[in-house]
């Protein structure tokens, strides 16, 4: 792979991104040397535990890292052939909400309780491309219909909607300007399963209808299997395994952490007496271990894992960052 060739349908390319949070006493390494690509119309699932750096990655794409504390220290985020990290704030504002938009985890707190639903969606539209009130108002009706809400309910306030309906409003806001990239940060975690199923089915539909690319942040491997095309497993701010859904959910070559994640989910179809979880905890991002960051929890850890950070071994579309796969890979991406 040569770095300068941009693939035809590539929408977003993140290269060797590192993000740190700095406080007076400590530096937290939230994202370490992450690289990934998303094509037009593709959905990428970003899977990992709390504190793995999933949300930090999303915030850096949005340019929403907390000022003076969160810093991109290395790498680039190329969106539509422009590096987002280097864009001045006004340019970034034009992108945010129109070309790239984000759905936050908790629909209860991401809406303004003092504004009607119509006003909140109008706000997005007026900041960006729709200037006349009439145009914007029509667009609100259109977009509400798209997410399955009666346009007549637009005069209501968020508290008059149930949790699932609120999340539909949030999705409507995110889609209002027809973004090319949608980042969904755990969009269904706060919802009940039957409502979650409704929202997921709707997102799947909309994604196909609008050809939006999507980054789906989740810890639920079931959701990933249902709506994603590609998967990246994140651990301690690194992508430790990446590939198509088929690569990750089948075959026998996987990162031991991925194996542990799957082993932790109780299976509905099989009867197992005990789960096989991963022992221990994720390392503190202020004090990352040497070598492979997973080594002290890894059942297959070897001597080399403690000393040397593994390279990324690539098998076609599938790549794994683990010393176990050093032999037989077609391609190696070394860290520098």
């Amino acid at each position: 792979m040569t770095d300068n060739v941009i693939k035809e349908n590539e929408l977003l390319k993140i290269k060797n991104l590192s993000v740190e949070y700095r406080t007076d006493e400590t530096v937290y390494h939230a994202v370490n040397n992450m690289s990934l690509e998303i094509g037009q119309g593709e959905t990428l699932g970003l899977v990992g535990e709390t504190g793995a750096g999933k949300t930090t990655l999303a915030l850096s794409i949005m340019g929403l890292l907390p000022k003076d504390i969160g810093l991109v220290t290395e790498g680039e985020i190329v969106f539509n052939q422009r590096d987002i990290c280097k864009l001045p704030e006004p340019e970034l504002q034009k992108l945010r909400g129109s070309k790239i938009s984000m759905i936050f985890q908790d629909p209860m707190t991401s809406l303004n309780p003092l504004m009607t639903v119509e006003k909140q969606i109008m706000e997005v539209l007026q900041v960006h491309n729709y200037h006349s009130n009439e145009d914007a108002s029509n667009r609100v009706d259109e977009i509400l219909q798209l997410v399955g809400i009666q346009p007549s309910r637009k005069v209501e306030y968020p508290h008059q909607f149930s949790g699932g309906m609120k999340q539909r409003v949030v999705i409507a806001m995110a889609l209002a300007c027809e973004p090319t990239l949608l980042i969904a940060d755990e969009p269904t975690t706060a919802l009940d399963v039957t409502i979650q199923a409704q929202i997921l089915a709707m997102m799947n539909d909309l994604k196909q209808k609008l050809q939006t690319s999507m980054i789906m942040i989740t810890h639920d491997l079931g959701i990933v299997a249902m709506i994603c095309d590609k998967v990246a497993i994140v651990y301690s701010g690194e992508i430790i395994e990446k590939g198509t859904v088929e690569d990750i959910y089948s075959g026998s070559n996987h990162h031991p952490y991925t194996v542990g994640l799957f082993g932790s989910i109780p299976d509905l179809t099989k009867k197992t007496k005990r789960l096989s979880p991963i022992a221990g905890l994720m390392p503190d991002s202020a004090d990352l271990p040497k070598g492979c960051k997973f080594h002290d929890r890894c059942p297959q850890a070897m001597e080399i894992c403690r000393k040397q950070e593994p390279d990324i071994y690539i098998y076609g579309t599938h790549s794994i960052k683990c010393h176990l796969y050093a032999e037989g890979s077609e391609n190696i991406e070394t860290n520098y």
């Binding site: 535990e49 979650q196 199923a197 089915a201 810890h219 932790s264 509905l268 179809t269 905890l281």
Partner: protein
């Protein structure tokens, strides 16, 4: 099933609200044997937590009986109640808000021991705390830590330790793993199952996660708006469902397999309606794909369609299974 530890008969809990009576738990009949786990599943607001709290008498029941080892504890006076509370404990959902932030791990675990005057002197208490910490997998170096210094999994272990301190017979686990990451969740589930195997605890395991319920429970009760809709052994419930709600609940879980990409989820329309002064009849009728005229008007009886498999549905009365 011979050794029934806890049983509820026609248990009801209504809350008075401005707009009428909220039927949180309506006519629940369950039996939990010694060493057995009953999983209670349902969506938020279906009355799972209220059921757990009412069984422990943390809420006073509106009507019905709770028999603990054959005795109706709802009739107990304070003194008797205090004594029996040692045998009935609860593990709370949120390990962040259920622990006093100003107490150390030692204080937190010692508190129930001191309150119930289990140990006579300080060194005995210290030994007991050490024992409990070992049982729940907390290393002794954390004994002087405060809850905020620990992660969610460890905090939940403190919560479990507090519940175990009095060596109870029955523990209500109210969503003990839903605030935790999957890998930590699995550690806690394994711990709870090991403890039950070793000490013969009976659990009422309240969860919204069906796969967790299946994993840990012997029997599963499905609730919808305060009503029991289906009760069966865990294996049987996943094999054969009689109530349309149970089926819908099962089908709305995204499964982590490649096959699930090809089969679309079964989508249940609508949302849970209001539990305030519900009309007689099936409370699921408005969302049910199989709804008929006789679903409304009178309450649906909870009948035994097969040995130990109870359902409240008109279809089941005719012996129709949905699988």
């Amino acid at each position: 099933m011979s050794d029934i530890l806890i049983e509820t008969i026609g248990l009801k809990k209504y809350f008075k609200t401005g707009s009428g009576m909220l039927h949180a738990v309506d006519d629940v009949n369950i039996k939990i044997a010694k060493g057995e786990t009953l999983g209670v599943v349902g969506e938020s607001g279906c009355g799972k937590t209220t059921l757990g709290r009412t069984v422990l008498r943390l809420n006073e029941a509106t009507d019905g009986k709770v028999l603990f080892e054959g005795k109706d504890i709802l009739q107990f006076m304070n003194k008797e109640m205090k004594k029996i509370r040692r045998d009935m404990q609860i593990i709370f959902q949120d390990p962040y808000s259920s622990l006093n932030p100003r107490m150390t791990v030692r204080d937190l675990i010692a508190e129930p021991i001191i309150v119930n005057k289990i140990c006579s002197n300080k060194s005995e208490i210290e030994d007991k705390v050490f024992d409990i910490m070992k049982t729940v997998g907390l290393s002794y170096r954390t004994v002087n830590m405060y809850p905020h210094e620990m992660d969610g999994g460890r905090r939940q272990r403190i919560g479990i330790g507090r519940a175990l301190a009095l060596n109870p017979k029955f523990i209500v686990c109210d969503e003990p793993v839903s605030a935790l990451d999957v890998s930590i969740q699995a550690q806690i589930l394994n711990l709870l199952m090991d403890l039950s195997d070793e000490h013969g605890y009976s659990y009422m395991f309240i969860t919204h996660n069906l796969s967790v319920a299946k994993h840990i429970s012997d029997q599963i009760l499905v609730m919808y708006m305060g009503n029991c809709v289906e009760l069966a052994s865990s294996d049987e419930l996943f094999e054969e469902q009689y109530h349309p709600y149970t089926k819908a609940l099962l089908n709305s879980i995204p499964k982590p397999t490649l096959e699930s990409r090809k089969t679309p989820l079964h989508i249940l329309r609508g949302e849970v309606s209001s539990p305030i002064d519900p009309k007689p009849g099936c409370r699921f009728a408005l969302r049910c794909p199989y709804v008929r005229t006789d679903c409304m008007g009178e309450d649906i009886p909870f009948i035994e369609v097969k040995p130990k498999h109870f359902v409240a549905c008109r279809l089941a009365e005719e012996g129709k299974s949905l699988s």
